[in-house]
Symmetry: C2
Subunit: 446 residues, 2 copies
């Protein structure tokens, strides 16, 4: 009787043995959607000081210029490029979400795969495959420690992202099962990132390191570095240190038959995910009522405790706006849209939005499910209109369509100043699976 | 009334306000001893595959060659050089120990300071000053979470080493108090390293990252990156996530008047610190008895529970040998020395040592203090000799002399193949405080 395999061993075998032919068209499609959404989010913030500062610092110590930093006209070595691209992709938390763990799966994984594939002339299908495997391992390890991990202070996208980057890199390097197992174990000794730091630029460092250090884990494993066999599940290993009472079985159960990354979701609005139902409802009511904001006397927003905990607050900063019930409602009724610009300082300070925010009240409706909201608008003329949204656009039950995701990409690319090249970029990402290398896409992203 | 300052804020003010003139001669001397010991340990393993593999991997992505990798004839960018030098310095755990936390203070901090100072032409006194400040913060943060942190699975030298590297780098960059505070907070989001991985090369990655990522924290803070004010002590911050019930006051109490790094200790033998009393006792008994090993019929070693837990085991590998009561005793009586070579495979397999190990028995003496041992040798002719060592050489109460530390340095340098240059290196490190830059020392270390 063979002993129970180590967790990392099972993962390593899965990753090394995976065949592209065994990846379903639906899963490949979700991988492409994830990468499209990621690159768009990164392009949208290409001029943000958080991104340009990270680039400035990495340039000083970066090695051979092999890998494109999206939208910067600069190449860096693969690890340094992945660091900056990961930061950009996740900067506004406008990227994707694996809802069970609240991991943003793509930002730490796709930049590693893209940077290495560009350096080595690997194909688009190889990138998609490596991305899917990396993101799958990332989300599954996250499942094992959620939700206690985050509640304890661990920024789960940063801490688990390194596993995803290590796996994607290992796959592209062609590591065998044992080397991939060691790469995962080495990634465990690099896992870091704190929730306390999320409102600060230190968040970006945890993110960028997930991509950068995950790659390092695979590079070292390729050259013979090993990790402890039970780096994940051992008594002094990752899951106990960071997960208190981990559910280790969740990492490997149904591996290869049920894909966590197939459940990836995308945000139509750069706001906290619990506010999306509020925005959807207000946009729909605005359309239905067809009146200017002055005609609305008051708006009542009802939701569950999480919505109230997160969002019933005064709005002073961009960050406040992204987690505000009042701002979300005002955007729906006043602007009729909720894109990136609607959460930036000019919008925060817009007197029309401020005046509308003052008309909004929030209250608990314990009967509503998580993520749902009921919005009731009372007009000055006495009419009342109400709408409940339980599955906002972008949720698992109401995913963003390909058309909506592509529109989001074009919107983001425009924000970053890439309107001219955006349609060609879109075309290149649509054709990623057929691309024999990344040179076409990367020349557009340069 | 001003509010209680944040922990990182107090540390940042302390570091930024520190004056070299306020650092006592004794403390400067301890800093020099720490760096001497570190460089010697790193040189001793310069040909070890763990070190040359790390170098090989870093060379691929390293940037401008500004900073020396000790004994390799290679320069890398400052972060990459610090990564490799940190790994080398700590590889055998033959380096220094802050006994209260079991942190090896110098390996993550000195490489960062030396690499940056070499790049920027900074003086030896600046390096010493930055090192002392970084190591002090590292040990103090470690005090706040010990011993639960290590018991939970955190390799404390890796996790706290990043703070030390960040502080030393911040000081050399001339960051102000607020920037230094942010650098410490950014380091918190990079803190990683697992005890489970200690018997593997993954340990080295946690170590190297402490040096490398700590530098990155300071570089980013210099360019305006900020961290959460309470990154260390906040409810979702470092100390709670990694320390369960931290003693935060330990970080700042007596800051600047009582120096933790002044209590640094150095190992005369590359074995677990609890075995040092056994080795000392056996060496002394060998000298006292003046008989060949064949004349000794049996050896009884008594110690506390920790000694037995760690060291009562069969010896098959180098790692076993470093934590073996039996091997320690055999070295004392058979070889009369316990240097690096005495724990390597030829010694492990030496029939004379194996035969002597079989004569050794270990037993509990609960009355002995931690770190002590009583060794009783019974000779074939019936004589019995016994010795109790409570303060082995290298412990706080019996520190290694300067002469012994310099002999250890020369021994290590010889092991690495640097016998010819070793005396000049020693001279350069003796004169570190007077050196206007590091060019002389680094040309010897190249």
């Amino acid at each position: 009787m063979s002993p129970t395999p180590h967790v990392g061993q099972t993962l390593g075998e899965f990753v090394a043995a995976s065949h592209w032919a065994g990846i379903s068209p639906a899963l490949r499609h979700e991988g492409r959607r994830s990468i499209l959404n990621h690159i768009g989010c990164a392009l949208g913030v290409a001029r943000d000081p958080a991104v340009t500062t990270a680039l400035k610092v990495m340039r000083v110590t970066a090695g051979p210029a092999t890998s494109t930093v999206f939208g910067q006209g600069v190449k860096l070595d693969a690890m340094s490029a992945a660091f900056v691209n990961c930061i950009a992709g996740n900067l506004l938390d406008y990227d994707d979400t694996h809802l069970q763990t609240v991991i943003h799966p793509t930002a730490p994984v796709a930049p590693a795969a893209l940077a290495l594939a560009e350096q080595r002339g690997l194909s688009g299908a190889q990138v998609l495959h490596a991305f899917l495997l990396g993101a799958e391992v990332e989300c599954r390890i996250g499942n094992a420690v959620s939700p206690g991990h985050y509640a304890r202070g661990w920024h789960i996208t940063s801490t688990c992202g390194g596993f995803g980057s290590a796996v994607a890199t290992a796959r592209l390097l062609g590591l065998d099962a044992a080397q991939t197992w060691h790469a995962i174990g080495i990634a465990a000794s690099q896992s870091a990132g704190l929730v306390e730091n999320l409102p600060s630029a230190a968040k970006n460092v945890g993110m960028g390191n997930a991509a950068r250090n995950g790659m390092l884990a695979a590079f070292l494993a390729e050259q013979g570095y090993q990790a402890a066999p039970a780096a994940l599940e051992g008594p002094l290993g990752w899951a106990r240190a960071m997960g208190d009472t981990p559910n280790l079985a969740a990492i490997t159960e149904g591996l290869g038959s049920r894909w966590e990354i197939a459940r990836n979701t995308y945000k139509p609005y750069p706001a906290g995910i619990v506010f999306h139902a509020v925005i959807d409802a207000c946009l729909a009511l605005r359309e239905r009522l067809g009146v200017p904001p002055e005609a609305i006397a008051s708006v009542d927003v009802a939701g569950d405790q999480l919505l109230l905990d997160r969002g019933d607050r005064v709005v002073r900063t961009e960050r406040d706006a992204r987690v505000s019930i009042h701002h979300s409602a005002a955007l729906g009724f006043v602007r009729g849209r909720a894109g990136v610009a609607e959460f930036e300082l000019p919008a925060v300070a817009d007197p029309a939005l401020a005046a509308f925010r003052a008309k909004v009240t929030a209250r608990l409706d314990a009967g509503l499910p998580r993520g749902a909201a009921t919005v009731t608008a009372r007009l000055a003329d006495g009419r009342v209109a109400s709408l409940t949204v339980t599955a906002p656009i972008g949720s698992s039950d109401n995913p963003m369509s390909d058309a909506a995701l592509e529109a989001k990409f074009l919107d983001n690319a425009g924000l970053g100043g890439f309107t001219d090249r955006a349609p060609a970029m879109l075309q290149a990402i649509r054709g990623l699976e057929q691309a024999s290398d990344l040179s076409g896409l990367m020349s557009l992203l340069a």
